[in-house]
Subunit: 232 residues, 2 copies
């Protein structure tokens, strides 16, 4: 299985810092996406939704705070601001705009890495409060933290998108998610109307998870609305 490494999007115009981040984060097993302008960063985030965003406030083409706001219109991905501006009011503005953390340059690698780990914890902490993070219903068992899925005794292999889709359903188990909600979360906001993607992947998931894919027990259709993962 191509071990799905967490994806970090770096939006930063200074090549030196990008190189530095590429080296340190890359060596820790993260996959890096890079953008050198705000525009590029926003569209990159939309087309390849990352697990974490590292954002430099001092971009040439747009105010960093606006970038935060634009991201927050559709995603709750952790945003860590990296900025040369260390004034308190800058930090407050950044955090209140929706960022999750704020690091002032120059910063230490170790601290950055630790704060990235905190962000990963938050991202992975699904909506179940403190309880064990394995979801069970019937024969189906989904361990979000360890990224594995079982039906009965059998381990199920899922592709990245399949897992993301199932993960989303698990996080909102019992609740109906609309096609648009799912598409925006899994594929990114540009795909909100591409509901045929969803059909294909729901089909594949059922094929892997359901005893009788034609009569799904877990991943049920709410016709005209969306899909739902049934709880017992």
């Amino acid at each position: 299985m191509s071990d799905t490494a967490p994806v970090i999007l770096v939006i930063e115009d200074e090549p030196q810092i990008r190189r530095f981040l590429r080296a340190t984060l890359g060596s820790q097993g993260y996959t890096l996406l890079e953008a050198t302008t705000a525009q590029e960063g926003l569209s990159e985030a939309a087309s390849h939704p990352p697990d974490i965003v590292l954002l430099d406030l001092g971009l040439p083409d747009m105010d960093g705070l606006e970038v935060v706001q634009r991201l927050r219109e559709w995603t709750t991905v952790p945003i860590i601001i990296i900025s040369a501006r260390g004034q308190e009011h800058d930090k407050v503005a950044g955090l209140d705009a929706g960022a999750d953390d704020y690091l002032t340059k120059p910063f230490g690698v170790a601290e950055l890495m630790a704060r990235v780990r905190v962000a990963m914890r938050h991202a992975n902490r699904t909506l179940n409060d403190g309880a064990d993070s394995v979801f069970k219903t019937g024969d189906l068992e989904v361990d979000l933290a360890h990224r594995n899925v079982r039906v009965g005794e059998k381990e199920i292999r899922l592709t990245p998108i399949e897992f993301k889709l199932l993960g989303l359903l698990v996080k909102h188990a019992g609740k109906v998610l609309t096609h648009r909600q799912i598409l925006k979360e899994v594929w990114g906001p540009n795909y909100a109307e591409e509901s045929h993607y969803l059909r294909v992947f729901v089909h594949q998931l059922r094929h892997k998870l359901e005893a009788d894919p034609a009569k799904p027990k877990y991943l049920v259709t709410e016709a005209g609305v969306g899909y739902r993962l049934r709880t017992e």
Copy 2:
């Protein structure tokens, strides 16, 4: 959204800083719990679970990291460390032990408040899916947010229009809604006169919800006027 003020537990031995936090946080509408030792802090957290913990690492009776670990054994409450130790390895250790943020003394009030707000955002997000309002009357249970409906133990599946219609009735439970009101809300303003639509769907709803559809208990007809969802 609880109507009660968020509770912040401050574990800090220096009276000055406690006083300072009491003043600033208190004036922002937070309720403060205070503990001056690690022991006290741990038992306070256990007996009155707070929404956020502010933890000083330099406590007299126990290492701050151990406090974090002990808390993390049972709670995911946001922990913000406040410490005089500003060395990078201290921060890394604190964050990796399970803290969510790390502020070095001396810190600005505004930044602390902003980071508390970030923590509150995180804490609230986990609750969002849980307890929305579910409407109940007799055996009927309607959860608008999750979009599901039950009668007794049995899950009822509704089509989009059926659900919209029932949802409207739930939102105005107990009140009579005229045919025109319902038609305008559910089908749109151009359908205000098409009352036969309504009859068909009321019939279908009753068929799915009522024990005896001919003698409706929940969805009752107000002859000459409209329909009403009966409350108990």
